[in-house]
């Protein structure tokens, strides 16, 4: 998989920042690229998953260690 991956590091950020930055990153994501979001805020995980579902975007979510999640979105 040779997709170019853009990274969005949201570790340490709390509401409403994660969703604002995610929306901006998704809007700026060009076709063929992937976005890798890392967050440790439980609310952000919920919000981002719902946001991506609304936009009908495919994503994979993985728990990196206790309390940090990585969401990879394919555009």
């Amino acid at each position: 998989m040779n997709r170019e991956v853009k990274k969005l590091d949201l570790v340490g950020e709390v509401c409403p920042v994660p969703l604002i930055k995610t929306e901006k990153a998704i809007n700026n994501l060009s076709r063929g690229k992937s976005l890798e979001i890392v967050t440790d805020h439980t609310q952000a995980v919920r919000n981002i998953m719902e946001f991506l579902d609304d936009r009908s975007l495919e994503f994979e979510i993985e728990e990196l260690k206790a309390g940090i999640w990585q969401i990879e979105v394919d555009s």
């Binding site: 709390v14 409403p16 439980t42 994979e60 728990e63 260690k65 999640w69």
Partner: protein, 162 residues
């Protein structure tokens, strides 16, 4: 198109199950029903409507004002209960180490919340939820004003954090 979205949603729910994040997760509605029960229990056990900021007035606490100390005990319980819940689902972590800029903004936010809760006669639980649920006009006025505040706050947040 709609059908494939629904299938994706099912896949997603199955994926979710394997994440400890989702183990035992409650929906907002479940939370609401259970919180209503706790709300009434607190009324029964303290004789007063549930409120949070009543336990944070330092002048009251230092004068050993019992109602304030009771509220402080309940508030401490909230922290412990939340800790227990997240420990149980294996997601505890020391998180949220923010920048100095964000630190100043959140302190200001706290300042506003504490001050305004005192002048309005309650926080989002005591004045918004319980104000309306206790059939008092101040609850409705407070709720509408909070919505206005959040509306403008959201616009400010977009400018500050984009």
């Amino acid at each position: 198109m709609a059908e494939s979205n629904i299938n994706r949603q099912d896949e997603r729910n199955n994926k979710d199950e394997r994440l400890s994040f989702a183990a035992g997760k409650f929906s907002y509605k479940t939370g609401a029903v259970l919180l209503a029960a706790v709300n009434i229990l607190i009324l029964l056990f303290t004789g007063r409507l549930w409120g949070i900021t009543g336990g944070f007035v330092l002048t009251d606490l230092f004068q050993i004002n019992f109602p304030a100390l009771e509220v402080l005990a309940i508030n401490s319980g909230v922290v412990l209960g939340s800790f227990y819940s997240i420990k149980l689902s294996g997601n505890f972590r020391f998180r949220g180490f923010c920048t100095l800029r964000r630190g100043i903004l959140v302190f200001a936010g706290g300042l506003l919340m504490g001050y305004s809760a005192q002048i309005a006669g309650g926080c989002n639980i005591r004045a918004m939820v319980n104000g309306v649920s206790s059939f008092s006009l101040h609850g409705v006025i407070f709720t509408l004003s909070v919505f206005l505040g959040v509306y403008f706050g959201s616009r400010l947040a977009r400018k500050l954090y984009s």
